[in-house]
Symmetry: C2
Subunit: 220 residues, 2 copies
């Protein structure tokens, strides 16, 4: 029987938290299927063959995903490979220093949002109102939303990954920034299928090679 290394044990418990982008983003989901439902089914089929992972999705993210997929078209058995779980919102804590960073970042963005609004109100180029409004919405969104955590779904992903010490698969730059602040491992979804394949191979290799730490001839 092959030895069980520490590393292998940790792979076997390897929790992975998934954002919607793995199934929704067209460039990303392609490796799993031609449309979101097929991509989810393709992913679940692969997950069923990769017991080194435990996959999690916060229910809030699942609700978002249901706007894109038709779960009733996927064999129900496959859903045993995707756990739905929220983080322990009333037990977890976050470092107070993060609160400063969030408040300061928002303050800066609120100021940028006002400059965008003032420019639209002045309309120095004398553009048509509809064009001004479209431009305002886009620039306001850039100033206040992009690259920042701005929804309870975002917080769910960050906190669930923290709670489970999981790998977080997301393309959202605001979430990635916070994952880095908190020491959470993350992976871009377009790399995820190859990562799964690589890790399955690595585990097979480790299972086949005796663990040096357990070699009786090398013990002191």
């Amino acid at each position: 029987m092959p030895s069980t290394s520490m590393e292998e044990t940790s792979f076997k418990k390897g929790a992975v938290v998934l954002d919607t982008s793995l199934f929704v983003n067209p460039d990303v989901r392609r490796s799993f299927g031609p449309n979101p439902t097929a991509a989810l089914e393709g992913f679940l089929f692969m997950a069923a063959q990769a017991p080194v992972f435990e996959f999690y999705m916060p229910p809030s993210i699942w609700s978002e995903l249901k706007n894109f997929v038709e779960p009733q078209k996927i064999p129900g058995e496959l859903f045993v490979y995707l756990h739905q779980k929220s983080p322990k919102r009333y037990e977890l804590t976050t470092p107070a220093s993060l609160l400063y960073e969030l408040v300061e970042e928002i303050r800066d963005r609120v100021n940028r949002g006002l400059r965008v609004a003032e420019r639209a109100a002045r309309n120095p180029e004398g553009r048509a109102t509809d064009e001004v409004i479209q431009d305002l919405r886009r620039k306001y969104r850039e100033a206040l939303r992009e690259g920042i955590i701005d929804s309870k779904e975002d917080v769910d992903l960050i906190l669930l990954a923290r709670e489970l010490d999981a790998l977080l698969v997301t393309a959202d730059q605001g979430i990635i920034k916070w994952a880095d602040k908190l020491g959470i491992r993350w992976l871009a979804p377009e790399k995820f299928k190859e990562y799964m394949t690589g890790l399955i191979k690595k585990v097979k290799y480790l299972s086949a090679v005796p663990e040096t730490g357990e070699d009786p001839t090398s013990s002191t």
Copy 2:
């Protein structure tokens, strides 16, 4: 010698965290002095006679206050009664549930800010640009700033009061809302001078009356 009750001991260590409003707001500071510098001096003089309190101010708030007062006009000795201290930003934690509340509140306010901006850009009443901009700034500020913690100074006040289990003296509605979420005692600054007077009387009264818990005839 009068007995020392639990309650009195807790008064003696009674930490109080101060915002600038006690000295800056004209309606509030009047009880301590006719201008901010005189109000600060008047307060410090009273604090020197009230050893039941330990007064704290985060250095970030002190920096704000220095825009209004001239500390060099106040006898240096009095500053022994006002400790400058930041919260332990890298040790304290906050409940994760607060992060959800903050993110959701900001999201709602960002949406309101966009509606204010769109209305200014459309200018349906055909007002003069300067008037539109003034109105935009006021309404945008209301939507995104008022009643919410929006600066590191705000976070300093909340966290220092939490760290010291202190009474927080502030008139800021955003800070008060968070104090309530976290179980921090707070007091409106216009009540503070009377509160000090009342508490000094209470401590004197408790010092003069024997504590029933320490009555040897009632011990079991």
